[in-house]
């Protein structure tokens, strides 16, 4: 029982900590932090698409190396990147890809391993690692509200952007509520509860959270209405691109075009 509650608390705290650290890094003044969020969103998304579309391992490896260099230049610690992105992706995708080394039909190179199997596994892991690193770079170097505002350049409806922003904010409110519920339960629990009781605890906790969430949405709606919300969302501040941002855009543009050309 204790271990179950502790595990749940640990996963909730980890998500909270991760968001706090991301925010801290996003304001640390590294190379990517100084780039206009619109340029970053467009360029890094384009690079992720190129990674997904590439048919050459060398192009994927080169983009991974460039992402690592950008991380260093943006004050993102390698250890953090490894702990948050590289190792989890390696374990998860590696577990999926490993049997392919043996199961994929093709030219055998010994121990039941085929050349095509090795390439398939390398493609799968390489793509997942590189795309995850690029997406982590975007989030680690840009405050979330700026990412959302930048989404407008993709003609994403304003209302969707507003919902994404509110969802992000309420994740932490509900996260805090869930954390307090589990901590309160932990402080009252002595001994080991049977499995069925643990299941009941989890579903009751989910039920309480649901009730609170619905109640909160009603209160938020009333608060929004009282401030004049009639379904229209307006943004007060706009980004302004500087000369350096245009240079970054040109550089990323070249990189995307070259990677796409060589990766065909």
């Amino acid at each position: 029982m204790q271990r179950y509650i502790e595990r749940t608390i640990a996963s909730l705290v980890a998500a909270s900590e991760r968001a706090a650290i991301s925010e801290q890094v996003a304001f640390s003044g590294g190379a990517l932090q100084c780039v206009d969020p619109r340029v970053k969103v467009a360029s890094l998304f384009a690079l992720i698409v190129v990674v997904a579309a590439s048919r050459r391992l060398s192009v994927i490896a080169a983009l991974f190396a460039i992402a690592a260099v950008l991380a260093v230049a943006s004050h993102v610690r390698m250890r953090r990147l490894a702990g948050w992105v590289w190792l989890p992706v390696l374990f998860f995708t590696g577990a999926i890809a490993a049997p392919a080394i043996f199961l994929t039909p093709g030219h055998a190179i010994g121990f039941g391993i085929t050349e095509q199997g090795l390439r398939a596994a390398a493609f799968l892991i390489g793509r997942a690692e590189t795309a995850s690193t690029l997406s982590a770079l975007l989030v680690l170097t840009t405050p979330w509200p700026w990412v959302l505002k930048a989404l407008r350049i993709f003609r994403c409806p304003m209302i969707v952007v507003a919902i994404l922003g509110m969802t992000y904010r309420y994740i932490f409110v509900i996260l805090q509520t869930a954390l307090e519920m589990f901590e309160a339960r932990q402080s009252r629990t002595v001994g080991v509860l049977p499995l069925a009781e643990r299941r009941r605890l989890a579903s009751s906790a989910a039920g309480v959270l649901l009730s609170k969430s619905v109640q909160m949405s009603g209160e938020v709606h009333q608060a929004m209405r009282s401030r004049g919300f009639r379904g229209e969302v307006h943004v007060l501040q706009d980004f302004r691109a500087r000369a350096a941002d245009w240079c970054w855009l040109a550089g990323f543009g070249l990189l995307v075009a070259a990677s796409f050309w060589y990766g065909r």
């Binding site: 992105v85 039920g207 949405s217």
Partner: protein, 305 residues
């Protein structure tokens, strides 16, 4: 989509997407000592309805993929299609089909939620497995090496389904059924949106339902009495009737003596008819008594104003 976006839906969707995101983090203890994570699509559909659930779960998946790097950006479309669209629509169809017009507090709704969550998450997994399985056919390099998912359908489908039929499906079932059971006790109005025409029966009426089923079962089993040999213990034992009572024996003659109405030739059918008549009379009497009690309670209630 525009119709769904009235002003109330904006905070409701936001908060619900945040709720789904948190639910995905819960470790759920499952039979066998393992744990699993639910998607929350079952309970989101039951509370919000299918269309709002599609949007809510998609938003949770977008934040999970973009901000927490979990799920993939280029696979977002497929993830939303599998989990949000297939999951929500399947949950809604199965939940409505099983729950029918039962009362909001009925145990049938708990079962419906559990079954709907379980089947919906497995259908979503099957869709994902098919998407994986056709990739080696569509995308491979000159040497024949698969460029994306490397396994054909015959491997992808069992690999995905084993985990979902056992762990992930059970996790979704536990959350869906558990939360519906909790809401029935604490806030049944939240279940109203996907229960049009639900009976307004109280919890007490819902609790009586198993007894009605048991009674119907006993009635169906009545013919077993015809098959039994001999007679019930003690019933045929001759007992000397006291002289005083013997004088009253002609005062009342039973219309169906010995469970055999005189106007029927077949003793078996007479036995059945007796059972049905007796049960019917008891139900009529109880209903009449209930009606009298109801009338008295309504008259005794203080009037407003």
């Amino acid at each position: 989509m525009k119709r769904a976006f009235n002003t109330q839906m904006v905070p409701l969707l936001s908060v619900f997407a945040a709720f789904s995101f948190i639910i995905m983090m819960f470790n759920l203890p499952l039979p066998g000592g393992t744990t699993g994570h639910a998607v929350g699509v079952g309970i989101a559909t039951i509370v919000l309805g299918p269309w709002a659930s599609i949007l809510g779960i998609s938003i949770a998946l977008i934040i999970q993929a973009v901000f927490f790097g979990d799920g993939g950006i280029t696979t977002l479309g497929a993830n939303c299609f599998n989990m949000a669209i297939i999951g929500s629509l399947a949950t809604y169809a199965i939940y409505r089909m099983i729950a029918g017009r039962s009362a909001l507090t009925s145990a049938r709704r708990v079962i419906a939620a559990g079954v709907a969550g379980y089947i919906a998450i497995n259908l979503a997994a099957l869709a994902a497995a098919i998407e994986f399985g056709i990739q080696p056919l569509l995308f491979h390099d000159a040497s024949g090496a698969p460029l994306y998912a490397p396994y054909p359908l015959r491997i992808a489908i069992p690999a995905m389904m084993i985990g979902h039929l056992t762990i992930a499906g059970l996790a979704e079932m536990v959350v869906s059924a558990g939360v519906v059971a909790y809401l029935q006790r604490s806030e049944p109005s939240l279940l109203r949106r996907t229960a049009p025409g639900a009976e307004e029966g109280s919890a007490a009426a819902a609790n009586l339902r198993p007894l009605w089923f048991a009674l119907a079962g006993l009635l169906i089993l009545t013919p077993l009495g015809i098959l039994a040999t001999g007679s019930a213990w003690g019933e045929s034992t001759p007992v000397p009737t006291p002289r005083g009572l013997r004088a009253l024996s002609s005062f009342w003659t039973a219309p169906m003596p010995q469970y055999a109405p005189p106007f029927l030739k077949s003793p078996g059918f007479g036995y059945l008819l007796s059972a049905m008549t007796g049960t019917g009379l008891i139900m009529l009497l109880v209903s009449f008594a209930g009606w009298l009690i109801h009338i008295r309670s309504v008259r005794g209630r203080p009037r407003a104003g």
